[in-house]
């Protein structure tokens, strides 16, 4: 077949898919139309064949239901012992997932994919167990009936009249590597039923009878075969795409399903799934919430379930808020290039539509180029556009105030009644009514308009001081006033409700933004965790903890007991939600959400709310996930920054290593030359020629040059330790004056020409540092000062405590540092031009920098006003204060 170029997108997707699968086990589903067609039998037969091929095979759980032939097939296979669970006074035997994972066979048999696990199992459903097995790289054979497929659930219910509760998401079928249909004609199946070869649980006998009617069986068989065929079709398309075989591809479609908070929405969702599958496109399920709307608890639960169902079936879900449902739906649809909208048929009476306008009508009329599919099953009257209720009824105080306003209107009109015409008075009352409507609820505004009509009638309409009306035209006036009141109050209430929604939305977004901003400013992972935890706790009013993994991948931190910690660990390992309110480990006391960033899962968020069911609300859950996502990204960023910094250090170290060798030989050999020369002269002399003072001189130079070499070697060794990363700072609480003192003594004579002033504040706290290393820093700095400054000039050592660090200053009155070289002098082998003789190898300051940096401090140099260089370095005081020293009683 001549091909075009294979679609690169598809190939990429395929490669990614393969990578994903590389670590996964293979799933083979033995698929059938109903119980009794022989799925388990087929599975076992194939298993035995694989076993003969030498595959390491284990029977996880297989229901033989007492059938002899099936039991015979199991014989000889390794069977995994079941787990016993106590439940309601009895013991249930369930599939032992942990044992299977520990055993880690190549292939495991797990019957009845749709089975619901007993409470106490890790997952609520067996297909979740199978997921985990596959993720661990274990191949799985399993069985499944067509009626257990989620998207076909209602179709099957229609056919058989039996609603199956245990369903399996279609994604499992779609992701399965192999599908084998165990097919049996209706007649053969019925014959087997008669022969008693089909398992029928006692309790369900009557129901099963109804199930096993020929018509049902035929329909189910067709459904099963068709579903399997769809899968083959998809595979074929995949194959064609990969190999560049041309085919007609439907234009990009997108389906939007709009649901409301009632159980019938499930039907809409499933219909949406079928449509999306047949069009092979993405689909979204949308719920438009009317602000201020009150929904009963059961309706809200139905809504939650429908949204969860939608997600399970592979849809994106969204919730938006708006008074005009049709408008919101269309806006959402247009923003996302939706091509087809699916809604339910309205079931409320037509009068409602006439009074308040029909959502459906508005939707259809406004749909433009988008197709609208209206199917049975939903009750669309949840969208009550024109009559929102902003909370409960108005407080009685408002009624009183409304009455007062009207009274006020009457009061001012009364004295002027002779001057004004009746119409003018009506206007004044109207004004009063509009005022009330704009400020108070609907109740008070209706009350105000009625009251104004009454007052108007009583006080101003002839015959005055009676409620009767002489002119029928006033009826019109009354009507207008009432209408005006209602319209004004309706409008204001609507605006207020919208403002409230906008505020809510803004508040939520604001909370996310605030946390993002705070996180952006944080430096260390510890800070990030603290900030994130704080924001989360404030926003969600629940106890939040973030757990991070140690290098081995075990979570640490937080205050959780063993059981909760293991749940959190599971979440970390699998990157999925678990805990209260989810399907996995629902008996845990907290909800655990994985913090997933681009490189994987970086941690786990543990949520403990007073009412654990709070987080079943999808809106709240979505918000939580958003926050978690932000936190995860920030943490990842911090970790990556950390890593980048470490790598920078590595690169720097590498550079150091290479340039070290270059200057080495010259600087080492110079003092050696002097020593060899002097010593050999003395040796050669043999007592003649060299005078005593000359002899002493030579010997002295040997000692001096040896010392110089010693120092050089010391520097080199320090340098080597620094760059090989072997420099370990053994920090202890030290008094700064000690290393200063030691350095001064060590330098001894070399500082002879320079008076050294030490000005350390008396109350300088203990500083965490490595005494030996810091002493070296002082030695190097003082040596430099002595070498590069003229004899007689003073050197000063000072220190001060600032902001969490101690800053130490070593000041001289020498020539200072050439402008622009302040950073370069810390480089290796850098020597200031024109330095005196025997100026050393140029490593001293580099070593100082290495040591100070290893302590977490900074070192830098400035030129002083008045001449000279000022070297400064900081040592962090650390976050914990120096431990206290026990006091003593009495003073000597």
């Amino acid at each position: 077949m001549t091909g075009r170029r294979p679609d690169p997108e598809a190939l990429l997707a395929r490669v990614q898919e393969e990578e994903r699968r590389a670590g996964r086990g293979r799933l083979k589903i033995f698929f059938g139309a109903s119980p009794g067609v022989g799925k388990t039998y087929a599975m076992l037969e194939e298993a035995r064949a694989r076993r003969r091929d030498g595959v390491d095979l284990v029977v996880g759980v297989v229901e033989t239901h007492g059938r002899v032939e099936t039991a015979a097939l199991i014989e000889g296979l390794e069977i995994l012992p079941r787990r016993s669970l106590e439940y309601r006074g009895g013991t249930l035997k369930e599939f032992d997932l942990d044992a299977a994972l520990a055993r880690r066979p190549s292939l495991i048999l797990v019957d009845e994919l749709a089975h619901t696990n007993a409470p106490g199992s890790r997952h609520a459903r067996r297909f979740q167990d199978v997921e985990e097995l596959l993720a661990a790289g274990i191949d799985v054979y399993t069985t499944l009936n067509v009626q257990h497929l989620e998207s076909l659930n209602d179709v099957v219910a229609q056919i058989t009249g039996i609603q199956v509760r245990e369903t399996v998401p279609d994604s499992i079928l779609e992701q399965a590597d192999e599908l084998e249909v165990a097919d049996l004609s209706a007649e053969d199946l019925l014959k087997r039923l008669e022969e008693g070869k089909v398992y029928v649980p006692e309790e369900a006998a009557r129901a099963i009878e109804r199930f096993f009617r020929k018509g049902n069986l035929i329909a189910l068989r067709e459904l099963a075969l068709r579903r399997a065929a769809e899968r083959v079709d998809a595979q074929m398309r995949g194959y064609m795409r990969e190999h560049g075989i041309r085919e007609t591809w439907p234009a990009g479609e997108r389906v939007l399903v709009c649901i409301g908070p009632n159980p019938a929405g499930a039907r809409l969702v499933r219909a949406g799934k079928r449509m999306a599958t047949s069009l092979k496109c993405d689909w979204t399920v949308l719920y438009v919430e009317a602000p201020g709307q009150r929904i009963s608890a059961s309706d809200r639960e139905a809504l939650v379930q429908n949204l969860q169902l939608a997600e399970e079936l592979g849809a994106q879900t969204a919730t938006v808020s708006g008074l005009n449902a049709a408008e919101e739906m269309l806006a959402y649809a247009r923003a996302r290039n939706v091509t087809k909208i699916v809604v339910g048929k309205p079931t409320h009476s037509r009068w409602r539509d006439k009074l308040f306008g029909s959502t459906l009508d508005r939707l259809v009329r406004g749909s433009g180029e988008i197709d609208v599919y209206v199917i049975t099953g939903d009750v669309a009257d949840a969208q009550r556009a024109p009559a929102p209720r902003a909370g409960q009824g108005s407080p009685p105080g408002e009624y009183v105030r409304a009455a007062l306003v009207i009274a006020f209107c009457a009061a001012i009109s009364f004295p002027l009644s002779s001057r004004l015409s009746v119409t003018d008075v009506a206007m004044i009352f109207l004004l009063g009514v509009v005022f009330v409507a704009s400020r108070y609820g609907r109740g008070p505004s209706v009350f105000a308009s009625l009251l104004s009509i009454a007052s108007f009638d009583f006080f101003f309409v002839p015959p005055r001081f009676t409620f009767s009306v002489s002119d029928v035209r006033y009826a019109l006036t009354f009507g207008v006033m009432l209408a005006a009141a209602l319209v004004a109050s309706h409008l204001t209430l609507r605006i207020r409700a919208q403002a409230q929604t906008a505020r809510d939305r803004e508040r939520r977004t604001g909370a996310v933004y605030a946390m993002s901003r705070a996180l952006a400013a944080a430096r260390t992972p510890a800070d990030l965790i603290a900030i994130a935890t704080r924001h989360l706790t404030d926003t969600f009013n629940a106890d939040m903890q973030i757990l991070m993994p140690d290098p081995a991948g075990r979570l640490e931190g937080g205050t959780l007991d063993e059981k909760e910690r293991s749940v959190a660990q599971w979440v970390f390992d699998h990157g999925q939600r678990a805990g209260a309110g989810t399907d996995t480990l629902p008996s845990a006391s907290g909800l655990y959400v994985s913090l997933a960033a681009s490189t994987g899962v970086v941690g786990v968020l543990a949520v403990r709310a007073a009412e654990p069911t709070r987080f079943e609300d999808p809106t709240l859950l979505q918000l939580l996930e958003t926050f978690a996502g932000q936190a995860a990204l920030a943490l990842e960023r911090a970790q990556l920054a950390d890593r980048a910094q470490k790598e920078e250090v590595e690169v720097e170290a590498e550079r150091l290593r290479t340039s070290l060798l270059s200057s080495l030989s010259h600087d080492m050999r110079t003092p050696l030359g002097a020593i060899t020369g002097a010593a050999s002269s003395l040796l050669e002399d043999q007592g003649k020629g060299i005078t005593e003072p000359a002899r002493r001189e030579l010997l002295q130079s040997i000692v001096d040059e040896s010392n110089r070499m010693n120092r050089l070697i010391g520097n080199l060794l320090d340098m080597i330790r620094l760059e090989s990363g072997a420099l370990r700072v053994q920090a202890e609480w030290q008094a700064l004056e000690e290393p200063v003192g030691v350095a001064l003594i060590r330098l001894g004579e070399r500082l002879q020409q320079h008076p050294v002033q030490v000005n350390l504040p008396r109350d300088l706290p203990l500083v965490p540092m490595d005494a030996v290393l810091i002493e070296q820093v002082f030695v190097n700095l003082l040596e430099n000062a002595a070498k590069y400054t003229p004899a007689g000039t003073p050197i000063e050592i000072a220190a001060a405590v600032l902001d969490g660090v101690v800053r130490v200053d070593v000041l001289d009155r020498g020539p200072g540092i050439p402008a622009g070289e302040e950073a370069r002098i810390f480089e290796k082998f850098y020597r200031v031009a024109g330095g005196g003789p025997a100026t050393g190898v140029g490593l001293g300051l580099t070593i100082c920098r290495g040591i100070v940096t290893a302590h977490g401090g900074r070192i830098w140099v400035e030129n002083r006003s008045g001449g000279g260089a000022a070297f400064h370095f900081t040592l962090p005081l650390g976050s914990t204060p120096a431990p206290s020293v026990p006091g003593e009683l009495g003073v000597e």
Binding site: N710, Q734, A735, E737, E738, V772, I797, P883
Partner: protein, 229 residues
């Protein structure tokens, strides 16, 4: 008390070191015995009963610290360990295992002889004297009074105890551990910050220039020493 010149045992495998030390010690009237391995060193220590032992920590066939422990099992002879710079850990361990002092290679003869003198003095007269004088520092143990350049200095009980420990081992190094144990008790051996604070206080009370101490010397990474002579 040994009769005749003091016997110094050197346990050192480096030929050059042995040469130089032999020359140095013999010229200063020490009787010189040498051993090149740990085993040999222990044997010599047992048979020759030296007055002082110089022990190199970098022996090929044994851990200097082990040797120290072994010798300490049956002898109180002063042991001075020789070690390279940057190996403070080893020195501390050796001192805590029973060594009396240390020298950092490379060292000069002057230093070596000074340490030997101090070591021998302490081994000869372990009993303390009622009054200790060092330069301008005078400690009257009987009356528990301390004077610097004839001016009395008031010390807190802990400071006094600390000074006392240093004085009793004047010229010898005391590790942090030893000092802490001595002054605060065995439960305090990890609390080096006590020492820092109190040494700082002592220095400020006794020294003219705390940053350039005359008496109270810091041995970085190891401990403290009161100036010997």
């Amino acid at each position: 008390m040994a009769v005749g010149p003091p016997v110094a045992l050197l346990i050192e495998d480096e030929l050059q070191m042995r040469r130089f030390l032999r020359a140095a010690l013999e010229s200063h009237e020490y009787q010189f015995v040498e051993a090149t391995t740990a085993r040999d060193g222990i044997a010599q220590a047992a048979s020759r009963n030296p007055d002082v032992i110089l022990l190199d920590l970098g022996l090929p066939d044994g851990d200097g610290i082990d040797v120290t422990r072994r010798i300490r099992e049956w002898s109180t002879v002063p042991i001075i360990v020789l070690s390279a710079r940057g190996r403070e850990q080893d020195k501390v361990e050796a001192l805590d295992a029973g060594a009396d002092d240390y020298l950092t290679k490379p060292f000069g003869i002057g230093e070596l002889l000074a340490r030997l003198r101090v070591a021998l003095r302490h081994s000869a007269q372990p009993a303390s004297e009622p009054v200790f004088v060092l330069g301008g520092l005078r400690v009257d143990f009987e009356h528990r009074r301390v004077f610097v350049d004839e001016v009395e200095v008031h010390l807190t009980p802990t400071e006094y105890k600390l000074l006392g420990a240093l004085v009793r081992h004047a010229g010898k190094v005391l590790t942090h551990r030893q000092l802490l144990k001595d002054v605060w008790g065995p439960n305090a051996v990890e609390h080096t910050h006590y020492l820092r604070v109190y040494m700082t206080q002592l220095r400020h009370k006794l020294e003219k220039d705390a940053a350039r101490p005359r008496y109270l010397l810091t041995e970085p990474g190891v401990g403290y020493r009161l100036q010997g002579e």
